[in-house]
Every structure is written in structure tokens, then in C-alpha cells.
């Protein structure tokens, strides 16, 4: 079966996030009252699979994220 998958990978709480910090500051300089900006990594794809939950979890752990520093979540929907 075919699935539409959206994965979001975030740096774990407490880790330095220079990218988020720099972009957040740039927005504040432009005059927007922005706080706590973060830049998670997002991936959107279609997956042909019989057990998508398990495979997506594996994909995250093996390639899209490093469990040491990242947490992740995903949404899986059937492709109509």
C-alpha cells in the first residue's frame, strides 16, 4: 500500500541551535516580536509499504535523524 509521509526532526531540548538563533534574531531586527525560533528538518515523501509505522520509525532512526541529538515525529496517511 502507498502512504504519504511527513517527518519532522527536531534538535533535542537544550542543545545549541545556532541556526534558529540567527534566523530569530534577523526577524527581530526586521521588527517582528519573534521568540524561540527553531528550524526543524522536514521531509515529505510517498512510501510503498505493508507496515509503514515500523518502516518510517526505522527510516528516521537510521538516516533522517541521529537519536543522540534529535527527536522526531511523523504523520502517515494513505494515498488515495
Amino acid at each position: 500500500m502507498k502512504w504519504r509521509v511527513t517527518v519532522t526532526v527536531r534538535l533535542k531540548e537544550g542543545l545549541n541551535d545556532p541556526e534558529g538563533r540567527v534566523i530569530g534574531k534577523a526577524l527581530r531586527n526586521l521588527g517582528y516580536a519573534v521568540e524561540g525560533l527553531r528550524v526543524p528538518k522536514c521531509f515529505e515523501f510517498e512510501l510503498e509499504s505493508e507496515n509503514p509505522e515500523e518502516e518510517v520509525e526505522e527510516i528516521c532512526r537510521k538516516l533522517l535523524a541521529n537519536p543522540l541529538i534529535h527527536s522526531w515525529e511523523y504523520r502517515i496517511e494513505p494515498v488515495s
Binding site: 537544550g14 542543545l15 545549541n16 541551535d17 540567527v22 538516516l63 541521529n66 543522540l68 541529538i69
Partner: protein, 712 residues
């Protein structure tokens, strides 16, 4: 920390340290910070000569280039962190060594990255390789320090692991030298750069233990690289140094604030008070212990007079860097920490900085045993070696590095050594080498061989060797065989350097490189500096119409060779270094280059003569015909002549009219053929062993991306 050390601490202190004190002692007494197992041996290394301004002992060594220019140089490993988070581990490794150079008052101008992995067939090893290279690229490129060379090696013994070493050079004027220690009390200690978080807590202890199977627990040792802040730190630090008002300077690396401030204050017998609650924090709820031992990256510690604090602070603010006075130096040799007005630690400073050495049991071993050279056809042997990932061009790696930034890179990656333009006349040559296969068989000769290869690579680009640094990657020193191989290695490094009249100005030791009880091979990596007149630099590649000469004697020395590795042959004898011959050939080649006798020069190392010749053809515009039976050698086997990895050898290409003059410079020298045509042709007594179009050989040489599964 070992039980006997805890006991000793209690005795010396005459009381039980509190939690914070234990934590600080723990990091300072770790192998990584204290060099307790290596110090007794490192004393053997020569560290002084006429080129050396500052030898080992501070964050980097310093070498005199000329009266106006000094060169700071250092080398670091980031093996453990890279093995669990290749991208961040390698990147922060670059950041660390760059700050080591910076804190001497020098502008970092180039990096080398000797990196080692398991076989590329395995997905995990490819992941580590790609992550490490990207980490080095993203960090080095963003801070604007060119990575101009390195080594890339793959070996079964590193499966699921990686050795990431990084060497850095910086350029400075003599008047800008800043030491890592203070020589007076009453200086303010300014912490500048990134905020302090919980990342990297226990990093040094982590680097002082073997990796377990479950690496999840090692999370706190991983840091997120922040090259943006590092670049600002570089510019702000140099600007501060140029005011002449910085009295001492150190980066925060392993051991964090504890290590930087105690070493800065304690080295000349002073003490320090740290107000840990003033440290700007990234995370709420951090304890004084966490603050004192955090290894958050991109931080520096400055010592300045109270009246200069504002001026230096303004420089940091201009660069939008956060800075705080976190303490001061005091007369009394104590290390005192306050937290919200309360004294939370108070130790004699030498208890942190004077860590007793440990001498482990030594047990000699030998993996050397005589083996027959297998019966393999020349063509088969050649294809195996030429197609080996260790021999393939590393273009895929170095094209990801901005190796040209700062506008000094005269010789780019791909040559025997990189050359950086220092002034209108002279350049600095910079190279790193190591050969764990040789070192595994014979740690003493392997280590000498690493030095010899560094010298040959410098000489091949026309550079007079100036100084060395070494990085010793070993398994657990608690294993008697490993500790013995370490001692042998240091002995080899010392003997070889002495023979060339060279000194080690800085270095690094990384022990406990093992995964799940599998020790790595002894892996000494030596980096060398040389000075070259820019006009003199020869080519490294063939052009048509030249004679090809071989300098040096070829012996049947296939132990630890690329050919044996490819054939799966274990044992054999590691190539022996004949220091006299090595020296004589180096001076002969340098003289030939100075007199302009040779057009192209390349040293012979991994893969032997067959590889060296082919590399010169592939890099150039012409093929060659070479009769290997003419090579000065102690064997009559074409395979041994072609693939032996004997030391002291060079290939030179030159116009016929220089032959007589050239011959006079060497004891072992022979013409083996000519450049020209579009093929690489190997003969034996006039009979063809192999003929291949150079274009085909080039395609193989450039096939690393394909091994990584890339489309291109």
C-alpha cells in the same frame, strides 16, 4: 579515575572533596586532559632546535618562518565524538584545533584532515565517512579556513569506527604572541562566545574510555557545531590580541571552564577565583558542577587587567559576542569557585593541574612473520591496487572543502603537500601522513616511516622541512601490547626526527580507541611544515618528452602494503627505514629542485612504484613507458619491484640534458623510461607487463563517488 588516584587525592587534600570538586578533579585527572599515561614517553621526543620558538606545553607550538613571521601549529583528534555523531563530532573537532591556534595570537590559515574509516561496502561506514567530510566542510568553509590536504584511509579494523584528526596552522607576527598562562594576580578573567549548556558534559572522560555497544548514553558528549560564532570569535580575538592588552588566552576545550582557568592560573603558580553563577547559561536550572565542566563549544577565556576590561569588552560587543567577567587570578595557588555568594569549591590548584603519571605494563608483540609473495599476475595486482579505495583520488572529499579561501593556496589538495603563499617569495608546505598497516606490523618502523613520508612529501614539492607535530591514536593503554606499541611508536618518532634534525612543537594523544573490545591498530599521524621558494616548486605530473628516473633502493618489502591488504595477505615484514639513505635522498632531491634539474617530482609511498608512476600520468598530460627491471632493487620479482612500499624513494621526470648532473646527486638512481604517449606502459626487460590508456586509468582513479553510490 582509578581507585588509587582517589585515595591519593584524599591524602593530599586531607579531606573528602565535595561533589563539585570531585567532578573537576575527575575531568582534570582524565587521560585526555592530563596525559597521565603518555607523558613519561613523550619526554623522549626532541622538541627544540633553531626553528622552534615554542615547543609542546601550550595550546599550540610555534615555529619561526622568518624574522617577521611565525607559524603556530597544532593537531587534535576527535575520534570518539565523530564515531557517535560524525557530522557534529568532526565539525567541533575543527573548531577546537582552530581555537588552539587562535589563542596563541595567530590567524588560522589552513587545515589538514587525516581521516580513517571502515570499509565502504558497509552502509554504516559510508554514513560515518559522508558525515565526517560534511562536518569538516561545513565548519571549515564557514569559518573561512581552507582545508588544504589530509589523508583518507579505509581499513577493516576500523569497521563502525572512525579516526578524525585535524591539524591547523596559523600565521602571526612575533609581537602578537600570547601565552596560555598568567604571570600576575589581579587579572580579570573574561569568558566570551557561546553560552554554556549541558552539552559536552563529561566529554573528556568519554574520550578516555572505550566506546560501548550502547552509544545512546554518550549523548551528552555530543555538541552542535556553531561555525557562525567561531568565525566571529576569530576576528574578535585577533582584534583584542592586537591591542596588546591580552595577558593570557585559552580556548575552552576538554574540561571546559575548569581546565581553561586552572591551567591558565596555575601554570606559573598563581590561583583563580571563579564566580560560576556569572557564566551565561543556555539552559535553566544548571548546577555549579555542570557549569564548571560543561564543554560547550566556541568559548574563549581572556585574562586582562581590570582597567582594560571595558576596552576589550567593546571589541566583543562590536562582533555581537556575549562576554562576562567570570573571575580573577589571585596570588595564592588555590582554585576557588563561588556560586551565588557561597564558596562551593576550594582546592590547591596543583591538585588539579599536577596529575601523577601512570606507567602501565608493557608487553612486546610481533605481528611480523615472513610470508611468500603470492603468485598473482601483474595485471591483476595492478587492478586490485589501482582500484583500491585507499589509492583512489580523494577529489570527492577535497572538492567539498573550500581549499582556496584566504587566497594563499599555491599547491592545492592532490599534490604531495599543500603550499600556502606566505609572502611574495616563500611558501609554507604542510602535509600529514601515517600508515597504521606498517605500524601494526612494526610500531617502531611504522612511526619512523610516518616521519620519513612526511619529509618525502615536503621535499617533493621543494620544501625544506621545518617542524613536526604528532597525533597518536591508540587503543587502551591498559592493554600491555598496546602500551608497548605506544612506547615503540614514540621511540620511532623520536629517532626519525633526530636523524632529520627536526623537532615536535606540539601533539596530541588519543587513547581508548576501541569499539566493543576491538582495539584499533597503532595509528601515529605526523604532520610536517616546510619552507619553499615559490619559484622552485616543481610539477607533480608528467608532460611529454622527459626521462623518468627512480631515486632510492627498492627492497622486497610488501608487509603492510596496499597489495597485501587487497589480497588479504596477513603478516610480512614492515618496510624498514634507513635513516641515512632517507636523508641523503631528501637532500639530493631538494638540491635537484633548487638547481632546476627536474620538471616533476613525486614520492613513492602507498601502492609502490606502480601507483606513483600512474598517479603522475593521470595528473598530467602524458603517459609513460617504464621498464621496472631497471629499478635499483634487491629483488627480481616484477610484483615486488612494482608494489613494494620501501621508503626513501622518489620518481623524478627531467629533460635528458640534465641526466649527468642529476645522477651525481644520488647513490641509488636509475633511468627507467620516458614520458609520452597516451598509455601507461610497464615493461620488464623490454617485455610488456601491462599497457593501459591513461584516460581509462583516470576514470578508475576518479571513481570514488561511484563507490558511494552517487550518480555523477
Amino acid at each position: 579515575m582509578f581507585p588509587h588516584e582517589r585515595k591519593l587525592i584524599r591524602e593530599r587534600l586531607k579531606r573528602e572533596p565535595n561533589e563539585l570538586e570531585w567532578a573537576m578533579l575527575e575531568v582534570m585527572w582524565s587521560e585526555h586532559a592530563s596525559y597521565k599515561s603518555s607523558r613519561p614517553w613523550l619526554k623522549l621526543l626532541p622538541t627544540e632546535n633553531e626553528h622552534v620558538i615554542l615547543g609542546p606545553g601550550e595550546d599550540a607550538g610555534i615555529v619561526r618562518f622568518d624574522d617577521e613571521t611565525w607559524i603556530a601549529v597544532g593537531i587534535e583528534s576527535h575520534n570518539h565524538p565523530s564515531a557517535v555523531e560524525p557530522y557534529g563530532g568532526a565539525a567541533t573537532g575543527v573548531g577546537g584545533i582552530v581555537r588552539d591556534i587562535l589563542c596563541m595570537g595567530a590567524r588560522p590559515i589552513a587545515l589538514l584532515d587525516p581521516i580513517r574509516f571502515g570499509p565502504l561496502e558497509k552502509e554504516r561506514n559510508r554514513y560515518l565517512f559522508e558525515g565526517v567530510v560534511k562536518g569538516i566542510a561545513d565548519y571549515g568553509n564557514r569559518i573561512g579556513v581552507p582545508t588544504v590536504g589530509g589523508e583518507t584511509e579505509f581499513d577493516e579494523s576500523l569497521d563502525n569506527y572512525t579516526l578524525v584528526n585535524v591539524a591547523c596552522v596559523g600565521i602571526m607576527r612575533p609581537e602578537h604572541l600570547v601565552h596560555s598562562h598568567v604571570t600576575e594576580p589581579g587579572l580579570k578573567l573574561i569568558l566570551v562566545g557561546n553560552r554554556t549548556g549541558r552539552d559536552g558534559i563529561h566529554g573528556v572522560t568519554f574520550a578516555s574510555e572505550e566506546l560501548g555497544e550502547n552509544t545512546e548514553e554518550d549523548r551528552s558528549a555530543v555538541q552542535i557545531p556553531d561555525p557562525f560564532t567561531e568565525k566571529l570569535l576569530i576576528e574578535a580575538t585577533l582584534e583584542a590580541v592586537y591591542t596588546g592588552k591580552v595577558k593570557a588566552l585559552k580556548d575552552l576545550g576538554g574540561g571546559g571552564l575548569t581546565c581553561a582557568s586552572s591551567e591558565m592560573a596555575g601554570k606559573k603558580g598563581f590561583g583563580a577565583v571563579i564566580y560560576a553563577d556569572r557564566v551565561p547559561l543556555r539552559e535553566p536550572g544548571m548546577t555549579p558542577t555542570e557549569v564548571m565542566i560543561s564543554e560547550s563549544q566556541e568559548r574563549m577565556l581572556f585574562a586582562v587587567k581590570p582597567e582594560d576590561v571595558e576596552e576589550i569588552g567593546r571589541i566583543f560587543e562590536e562582533y555581537e559576542l556575549e562576554w562576562t567577567v567570570v573571575g580573577e587570578t589571585i596570588d595564592e595557588p588555590r582554585f576557588v569557585v563561588y556560586w551565588r555568594g557561597e564558596k562551593v569549591a576550594d582546592l590547591p590548584i596543583e591538585l588539579l593541574t599536577d596529575v601523577p603519571t601512570i606507567e602501565w605494563e608493557l608487553k612486546p608483540y610481533s605481528a611480523e612473520r615472513p610470508v611468500e609473495t603470492p603468485d598473482v599476475s601483474f595485471g591483476e595486482a595492478f587492478d586490485l591496487v589501482w582500484g583500491s579505495p585507499n589509492i583512489l583520488s580523494k577529489r570527492w572529499v577535497w572538492e567539498q572543502y573550500d581549499h582556496e579561501v584566504q587566497g594563499r593556496t599555491v599547491l592545492k589538495p592532490g599534490r604531495d603537500a599543500a603550499v600556502l603563499k606566505i609572502n611574495d617569495e616563500y611558501g609554507l608546505a604542510f602535509v600529514a601522513d601515517g600508515n597504521p598497516n606498517h605500524s601494526y606490523l612494526n610500531p617502531y618502523h611504522g612511526a619512523m616511516g610516518a616521519v620519513a613520508e612526511v619529509v618525502r612529501n615536503l621535499v617533493s614539492v621543494g620544501a625544506e622541512p621545518l617542524a613536526l607535530v604528532d597525533n597518536l591514536n591508540f587503543a587502551s593503554p591498559e592493554r600491555p601490547e598496546v602500551y608497548w606499541s605506544f612506547a615503540e611508536t614514540v621511540r620511532g618518532l623520536a629517532d626519525a626526527a633526530r636523524a632529520f634534525g627536526l623537532a615536535y612543537v606540539s601533539g596530541n594523544v588519543s587513547f581508548y580507541n576501541e569499539v566493543v573490545d576491538r582495539p584499533i591498530k597503532p595509528t601515529p599521524v605526523v604532520a610536517g611544515l616546510g619552507k619553499v621558494k615559490l619559484e622552485d616548486i616543481p610539477q607533480g605530473a608528467f608532460e611529454g618528452g622527459l626521462l623518468i628516473g627512480v631515486v632510492g633502493l627498492t627492497k622486497p618489502e610488501l608487509g603492510g602494503s596496499e597489495l597485501f591488504a587487497r589480497l588479504g595477505v596477513e603478516g610480512g615484514l614492515a618496510p624498514r627505514v634507513d635513516l641515512e639513505e632517507e636523508k641523503a635522498n631528501a637532500s639530493g632531491v631538494l638540491e635537484a629542485i633548487r638547481r632546476g634539474l627536474v620538471k616533476a617530482v613525486h614520492d613513492v609511498s602507498r601502492g609502490g612504484l606502480a601507483v606513483a608512476l600512474t598517479e603522475m600520468a593521470v595528473a598530467g598530460k602524458a603517459g609513460f613507458t617504464a621498464d621496472l627491471s631497471k629499478v635499483p632493487s634487491e629483488t627480481s620479482s616484477p610484483i615486488e619491484v612494482a608494489f613494494s612500499e620501501s621508503h626513501s624513494r622518489y620518481i623524478v621526470a627531467f629533460p635528458e640534458e640534465n641526466l649527468e648532473e642529476l645522477k651525481g646527486l644520488f647513490k641509488h638512481f636509475a633511468i627507467i623510461g620516458r614520458t609520452g604517449g597516451g598509455d601507461a606502459v610497464f615493461l620488464w626487460n623490454g617485455r610488456e607487463l601491462l599497457r593501459k590508456p591513461v584516460s581509462e586509468l583516470r576514470a578508475v582513479h576518479e571513481s570514488l563517488p561511484r563507490l558511494l553510490g552517487e550518480e555523477e
